[in-house]
């Protein structure tokens, strides 16, 4: 693993005359610098870089850390709104809550852990959760929830490899999140053969922090003197360099290069951090805090020093580390999990170390874990690292923040025409059961029963109970937060811009359905190689779509303002050979529920209630699961979307919930009206024996279209005496509304079709169909099915 002496030059000025040759030689040693970066580094430092510096800048300038291919594009996303406290740029976004909870802010972070999860599903997904949780903690927040958006290959055609990944990722998320004591608050799952070789695991974490307890990742103002305190697991070589995910070799691979998740240590570390937060806040101790992720000590400490152009000196000899000898560049840059770095006044450092080392006895939880002073922050404007008396890194902090930008060629493609399926399924009864029994239409219950959704005691509505999950900001307070994810990969692949608009609209609509006011967004953009012009074209189109939708849908938080993107992540290189993954933006929306007692589930409530459908006419089958999965035809473009009308639809949903006009609500998405009705029936406890009876004639559309069109809409269950009010509110907003039926006292879904015939399904057969696919997948009974 040793590259060379850390303080020796990685290449000479003479060698740098052929930068491509230097780049390829460095690459063979695990250091990734592009040819032009070889020259740039020489210029920035004014001398040849030491080995440790080459390693450090290789990481700082990686796509993962620098966003060099996408940063200029991301500026297009709206990120300013009155509620934004800290927007994109730090580890997580911070958003103010409205009165009476203005003393609190929510913290949102969103990241991908795609590649690691493909290679090592359990560890990859677990370290993904661990990493995103750290991003929220380092703002001084308590982590109150995690969500995950998962994109898997086709479990049937993709074979056991895909199924192993599905099971492994879910196990990794469960093992880590459950033990950590952070509730899993849902997310979404899609299956598509386009993810066979590259699964996507996007993780999101939500935090709550006192407005006066927000910590920044920087050296505080003032003279200090400041010290840097490293906290957590002893540094080892895990995750060092690019070699981490080379394939394991038969016969025992001894590298130990995999990042090993440790939720047990992390749990204790989080409890100890909470105690630190309390003391720092109570005593008014100025402090900076940052988590260690990619690039380890080097990235964390250099970024702390560079924020505000300060400076730092790191004594690597002081680092607590595993007993085996490791070269300094490894200690400096390895990605050992479960570590944080504090910047504290020197006078407070001993007490801080005492909290971790004695009060919480980290060393007894994990051998060698603890807190130690590893250096000083200063105002020299330089970042220096020493090891055994030698300086191995010495550069201006401005060089660290200089960043890189690479203009990549991009090629936009014309959107496809809408699909107009020619065939029809004669058996509509079987069609719904087939749809509910398909990978993308089936119930996710089997999966989320692996997760603890209730730890911490804030949870109000759980996954599967409503369109969004809802937690209380505190068990003694009325305000809640509603959380939902959007991003249909089939739509985004077909038309990246329109698909991205839908992703934002869907996440926000789900939040609105439970009665939450969409308050803030995050995004993760999962794409192929940035060197592929089509990929870059799709990425640009996606960002445009996200931006346009967000600009329209912010009015329920602040009138006339956009719904802000407060944090995000770009994951490129999700590609094998010349096949990138389907364009996959994942959008997370957090909303504010003023009073959780008004929030709405999707379960039917009372026989005799009316069912109202509000939204777009049922006049398209393009993009639908019906066309794609049942007819087996190309899905075509996503359904059309009128964003201004969408904003009014969401406003209606929020007002209907806040005013207690409706008793339950459910968004129409995959599978259209038929799937939505079935889900409302299935969500109702069997003992209550409720069902629905609808007459689709009022929709003035052919039966298949009425049942399966995926144009936006919301189904409301309304007590008869309130129905006129909802109609009136819809008309005021120029929204179409149809009375399609009523809740009945029989556990059936009965639909009278436009032609006059009636189809009906028992709740039992709907549940059976929807439950089958994932149970089959887990027990590896694909062949028997």
């Amino acid at each position: 693993m040793t590259l060379g002496t850390a303080s020796a030059p990685a290449y000479t000025a003479k060698e740098a005359r052929d930068p491509a040759a230097v780049a390829s030689r460095l690459f063979a040693l695990g250091v990734t610098l592009e040819a032009e970066e070889v020259t740039l580094l020489l210029e920035l430092l004014g001398r040849p870089p030491h080995w440790a510096e080459a390693v450090l800048f290789g990481i700082l300038w990686s796509e993962h850390c620098s966003y060099k291919s996408t940063r200029h594009l991301l500026k297009r996303l709206p990120s300013r709104a009155p509620q934004v406290v800290i927007g994109p740029g730090e580890d997580a976004g911070v958003v103010a809550l409205p009165p009476p909870c203005e003393d609190l802010a929510m913290v949102m972070a969103h990241e991908s852990h795609n590649h690691p999860s493909q290679v090592l599903p359990v560890e990859g997904a677990a370290t993904g959760v661990g990493g995103i949780v750290r991003d929220v903690v380092c703002m001084g927040a308590e982590v109150v929830g995690v969500l995950d958006a998962l994109r898997f290959g086709d479990p049937r055609t993709g074979g056991v490899a895909v199924r192993d990944i599905v099971r492994g990722v879910v196990r990794g998320i469960a093992d880590y999140g459950n033990a950590l004591g952070v509730p899993n608050l849902g997310g979404d799952v899609y299956f598509d053969a386009g993810f066979d070789a590259n699964c996507l695991v996007n993780v999101m974490a939500l935090g709550l922090v006192s407005r006066d307890g927000i910590l920044r990742s920087r050296v505080p103002e003032g003279d200090g003197p400041w010290v840097l305190v490293l906290v957590g697991k002893p540094t080892d070589e895990s995750g060092f360099g690019g070699a981490a995910f080379a394939s394991g070799e038969l016969g025992g691979d001894q590298r130990g290069a995999v990042q090993l998740p440790d939720p047990f240590l992390k749990r204790v570390l989080n409890v100890a951090n909470a105690e630190m937060f309390r003391r720092v806040r109570e005593r008014g101790v100025p402090a900076g805090f940052k988590d260690l992720g990619a690039g380890g000590v080097a990235c964390a400490t250099s970024e702390l020093a560079a924020a505000g152009s300060r400076g730092a000196e790191i004594r690597l000899d002081e680092l607590h580390r595993v007993p085996r000898p490791l070269p300094p560049e490894v200690l400096l840059c390895s990605e050992t999990q479960e570590r944080y770095c504090w910047v504290l006044p020197e006078a407070f450092a001993a007490e801080a170390c005492e909290i971790y080392n004695r009060e919480f006895a980290l060393g007894a939880i994990y051998p060698g874990a603890g807190a130690r002073v590893i250096g000083r922050a200063n105002d020299t404007g330089r970042y220096r690292v020493t090891w055994e008396g030698e300086v191995i890194v010495d550069c201006a902090v401005d060089a660290i923040t200089a960043g890189r930008r690479v203009q990549r060629p991009a090629r936009r493609r014309p959107p496809p025409p809408p699909a107009r399926p020619r065939r029809r399924t004669p058996d509509l009864h079987g069609a719904l059961l087939d749809l509910l029994g398909s990978w993308n239409g089936c119930s996710r219950e089997y999966l989320f029963r692996h997760y603890d959704s209730e730890v911490q005691g804030r949870t109000w509505l759980r996954p599967g109970e409503a369109d969004a999950t809802v937690i209380r900001v505190h068990p003694e307070r009325a305000m809640g937060l509603a959380l939902a994810v959007g991003g249909n990969p089939h739509w985004c692949e077909s038309d990246p811009e329109l698909g991205a608009r839908h992703a934002v609209a869907e996440a926000a609509r789900n939040v609105a359905c439970v009665g939450g006011r969409p308050w803030a967004l995050t995004d993760c953009l999962n794409f192929g190689h940035p060197t592929d012009a089509r990929v870059m074209g799709d990425l640009a189109a996606t960002i445009e779509g996200l931006a346009v939708a967000a600009e329209t849908l912010g009015g329920l938080a602040a009138r006339g303002e956009p719904l802000p993107f407060v944090s995000g992540n770009v994951s490129l290189h999700n590609q094998t050979g010349d096949r990138p993954v389907p364009s996959s933006p994942v959008v997370w929306c957090a909303g504010v529920v003023h009073d959780v007692t008004t929030s709405l589930g999707m379960s039917l409530q009372a026989a005799g209630d009316f069912l109202l459908l509000v939204g777009e006419p049922r006049d398209e089958l393009t993009g639908s699961a019906y066309t794609r999965d049942l007819l087996g035809e190309p899905g075509g473009a996503p359904p059309s979307l009128d964003l201004a009308r969408e904003a009014r639809l969401q406003e209606l949903a929020v007002l209907a919930a806040e005013g207690r006009w409706v008793r339950s609500a459910h968004d129409l998405s995959d599978g259209g009206l038929a799937a939505a009705l079935a889900e409302m029936v299935m969500a109702c406890p069997p003992e209550r024996g409720l069902g629905v009876e609808v007459d689709l004639g009022v929709l003035e559309a052919p039966a298949a279209m009425a049942l399966f069109s995926e144009r936006p809409g919301i189904l409301f269950e309304v007590a008869p005496e309130r129905a006129a009010r909802v109609f009136h509110a819809a008309r005021e907003r120029s929204l179409l509304a149809w009375p399609i039926g009523a809740v009945t006292a029989a556990a059936l879904l009965r639909a009278r079709l436009p032609g006059g015939t009636t189809v009906s399904w028992t709740a039992e057969e709907l549940r059976g169909a929807a439950a089958a696919p994932l149970a089959r997948l887990w027990s590896e009974r694909e062949d028997d099915a």
Partner: protein, 185 residues
């Protein structure tokens, strides 16, 4: 629950973390600190043990198959030793003793069995347990008794590795039986 079928052949896969196993580290620390018999314990390793039973291919082929699926182990962090005949050595050192523990009625790994059938077309039985490998202080006179006392949970001061109300255990000294978990009937 032992399923009756003709035992064609049996193989064991011993799967151990390449780094220190935190379970073993904690168990050793607790046993030494709080159990009277724990003072005799010098070292403790934790090895996941699979027993495969049925019409099996040659050892090299078994090794290749196990390496391919995450049903059995993760070659990035674990090493696997396969025994397919009693002469094959188990990864147990001189003077070490083995305690096999498995959850009664929960030892079968049907997912792994289905995976094997997918890959090979052959139906086999797969069972999983944990082999604790104990290093006992050589000065202890009755090592077997010390192992037994550490193995079977009786109360807060006696026993740790197996709760007999839910688990089975088997003890072995230097020679590890093959099969160890599978009971021929």
């Amino acid at each position: 629950m032992v399923r009756k079928r003709v035992v064609a052949s049996v193989a064991q896969a011993w799967v151990e973390l390449v780094t220190a196993d935190p379970e073993a580290v904690s168990a050793l620390a607790v046993a030494r600190a709080h159990l009277p018999a724990g003072r005799a314990l010098k070292s403790l390793r934790r090895v996941r043990l699979f027993e495969l039973c049925g019409l099996l291919p040659a050892r090299a082929e078994i090794e290749t198959l196990l390496h391919r699926s995450i049903q059995f182990y993760n070659p990035h962090k674990e090493r696997c030793t396969v025994r397919s005949s009693p002469g094959d050595p188990a990864p147990i050192g001189d003077g070490e003793r083995g305690v096999l523990v498995f959850d009664r009625g929960e030892e079968c790994r049907e997912g792994a069995e289905r995976w094997w059938r997918h890959e090979t077309g052959k139906t086999i039985e797969v069972r999983e347990g944990v082999a604790w490998v104990l290093g006992i202080d050589p000065s202890v006179r009755d090592a077997a008794a010390a192992v037994e006392e550490l193995a079977v949970l009786r109360d807060r001061r006696h026993g740790l590795l197996c709760n007999p109300h839910a688990q089975e255990h088997r003890l072995a000294a230097a020679e590890i039986p093959l099969p160890w978990m599978t009971v021929a009937s």
